[in-house]
Amino acid sequence: MKSTTKHQETAPAVSAGAAGTAAEKGWGEPAGGEPRRGRFTRENVAKVLFIVPAALYLALFFGYPVVKNITMSLQAYTTKTFFTGEAPWVGFDNYATMFGSQLFGPALLNTGLFTIGSIAGQFVIGLALASFFKRRFPLNNFLRSMLLLPWLLPLIVASATWRSILDQDSGILNRFIGAFGLEPVPWLTSPSVALIAVILVNIWVGIPFNVTILYGGLQDIPEELYEAGALDGATGWAAFRYITWPNLRPVVSVVLVLGMVYTIKVLDIILGLTNGGPANATQTLSIRSYQESFVNFEFGVGAAFSNILIVISLLFAIIYLRANRRAVDE
């Protein structure tokens, strides 16, 4: 698969590539009887036009926001700015405000706990379900694709639904544990459990994605390895430990790093469930960024918070790309 792809990639390009290099070598080379082949032939211009709209879009809707966040974070960018058009430069004042705020430490800690807790839960349950669905049985494919549903629903719908389920007085979860004689848990109203509740909901949302990718990885492990292992007595847990896990590791690193990148920026679920409360117990960096910008209208401080998010995401992006390259090399 890899080699054919490579082949097809180079094949159509032979003529264009040759023209390109000839043009680059410059005047010394005779034109070879094809004087119209150069950099700016109609053909080459048409080819570039295929990519221009997308390039413009990416520059305007991804490039510009990143740059704008950096400049905003160095300006006093407030409601006033929208009336006067003035946003005076203030150096690193916004960063000082951010690091000095009482909420910075807790938000950073919560972001870490939320991310690690969500990823760990999604991954363990996802791997267990993926291993289960590796068995052959009737309706396997159908059941597995229905499992995608939580992932496809709007996150705010998931938040609304879970808010009714987790309601302290009459939510179904507390009624359920009440049947076993347990005290009702104030899932979303107590600062000491709210973060756990939010993590549990995010685990539920992320399981389908983990199952899908890990199932794909499991399917790619050759059956012969297990057959050979079985001859040597490696079955059950030993088979998992010595065959499945080493072979799955490249996929695992991709799932985990992507999970980090996407969990760190989660906003919908927390806003829908707790709005960052109770008593700021579920504040994260992205909630801070949103609230500074769109609730307090301190866009400069909000941008400073989101720049921290960008830096963390980029770190994971680099890890992701390295993990992926290793996955290919192996």
Binding site: Y57, P65, F137, I156, V157, S286
Partner: protein, 296 residues
Amino acid sequence: MTSASAVLKTRPSAHPRPGRPRPWARPTGSGRGAINTTLGVIFLGIMLFPIYWMINASLQPSGNTLNADFFPWNPSFAGYEKAIADQGGNLVTSLIVSLGTVLFSLVIAAPAAYALAQFRFRWINIALLAILISQMIPGIVIANALYAAYNDVGLLNSIPGLILADATHAIPFAILILRAFMIGIPPSIVEAARVDGAGLVRAFMSIVVPISRNSLITAGLFAFLFSWSDFLFALTLTTTDEVRPVTLGIYQYLGTQVSNWSAVMATAVLSSVPAIVLLLIAQKYIAAGAIGGAVK
């Protein structure tokens, strides 16, 4: 080979491999199969219970329905009546924005995907890397900057403004999914048309687009679902109730209407309809996208 192209090649192809045997085709002990199917149904039941509960709660009589029964023995549609009265317009707004996002995303992404798959550009790997990284940029970063920019150009509270912003969820994903398919199109079929005198654009429209139908459907479905689910841009780029997607409607319900759960849940059910319908009727496209979605 640079990392970007390597990344894309490790991803499974965008479409289910046709030759793969169906898992249950090989006869196994039928007793065991039945036990596993039962277990599978139980696991699925646990995972989908919240969705069942949402539907159940939406059919309870109005008022504080949190004390709902396990089954809506006396279904009441009062919640739906209120939901449609309050949120009907928002649902239509969401639908228009989502369809607009599908159209806009495909028009932008398909030619770019083809170029990245088939043309020889020197900077192709850099472009792919940029697309991968763009998917990792937090939405709040985009929202922060777009709010100021939209305020200047008058795109706040507008449907085109939301379409342009929602396409940030869809375009990088669509380019990657479409490119993964288009890389397999044999250049010879396009060249044959070129020999017959078709220009590059005509060859693209009359040959590449029809061949890529399935991957275009997959990319389009996900563009729809991403845009339909969008909450962040709805929340930040609208300030009045002129243009209000239903996700924002639900959020505002949560703030004001928690005493009327059946209406909240009915709106939630109505907002889930696209995902449920698409999963049932377009399963293979969704599965293809979910696997390609390793990059989502």
